[in-house]
Subunit: 190 residues, 2 copies
């Protein structure tokens, strides 16, 4: 599918599933997330037993120009690695001072945000809620429910992704299942 | 409601109605749109007979910074002025080379776009469709259905709104009801 960024276009993202019939999604399985969950044993077991799809997203390739807008959908599937809920890898923007909005279409969970000074917050997500991820904050979405967590996102198209910082140190907080209740705890490895 | 643009926040926009319980919408009645429809007689009659609400939107006041994102919802109600469907006023961005995305949550209609050279296109909107409004294009949404046309929008927060150009000359094209079928026609006043 050819997207004409100069004259405009339409593209579908199914409101229920978040998936587009027009473009391929980027898929992240357990093996792509290796080392990001605390429970390495549970992680390895998952990889060896079917390597489940943890999340996928539509990155439709906007020109990296400050006047363009990158937008698409993100779908985090329900599940856990040990007591940690399925989550996205999370990232800073390369141009740090660029914000992002996420509008939740279905499911429930959290948007975990954290800046380079360690200021952190967990914003609750459910259908109809928009989260504003402010300039300078890394962000990760986490599905604490039983159905896919689907969000529509938009940010300045030249912002870029810095996944490395989070991959190296993780987030300060984790969201884990404590007797059936999603609970925000300190990350022991941070 | 206080929105913390520096640390982030959540805000609700009802998926079905587009309305937020947290903030007031900006409302545009027939009288606010005076002079924008071709049929002046039908327009005047509407204003004198109840001055109906044609559309409303949530502009939640992002800082006018190139790293921030302005986002919210727009709701165009069903109806006609003569044979012209209810529509938004339409605008260019003050910083012309800034794009905008609209993700349609419900209803049906069109996003009419037009640049300063007169290049124009009408993109169809229905639930689950995203329209990319490219840099340099004025845009107006038009409800051709029987239920509210609800969209979620996002753009660079310093883009600004230039309503004056469109108010003065209109769009090159109109979308009118021809025997029950939405039809794109030339604007006789352009």
């Amino acid at each position: 599918m050819s997207l004409n960024w100069n004259r405009g276009f339409t593209i579908d993202f199914n409101l229920a599933t978040g998936l587009s019939g027009a473009v391929e999604s980027t898929k992240r399985r357990a093996s792509n997330m290796k080392g990001m969950y605390c429970d390495s044993k549970a992680e390895l077991e998952l990889i060896e037993n079917g390597d489940p799809l943890m999340y996928e997203f539509h990155e439709i390739g906007a020109p990296e120009d400050s006047g363009d807008v990158a937008a698409g959908t993100s779908i985090v599937y329900p599940g856990k690695v040990g007591d940690e809920y399925y989550m996205t890898a999370g990232h800073f923007h390369t141009i740090l001072a660029t914000a992002e909005v996420y509008y939740c279409l279905s499911g429930q969970g959290y948007m975990l945000v954290e800046n380079k000074d360690g200021d952190t917050e967990a914003y609750e997500l459910n259908a109809g809620k928009m989260v504003y991820v402010p300039k300078g904050y890394a962000h990760r979405s986490i599905n604490t429910g039983n159905v896919p967590l689907v969000t529509f996102f938009a940010f300045r198209a030249d912002a870029g992704h810095d996944y490395g910082t989070i991959k190296q140190r993780g987030f300060k907080k984790l969201i884990v299942d404590k007797s059936g209740t999603p609970t925000i705890v300190d990350n022991p490895r941070y």
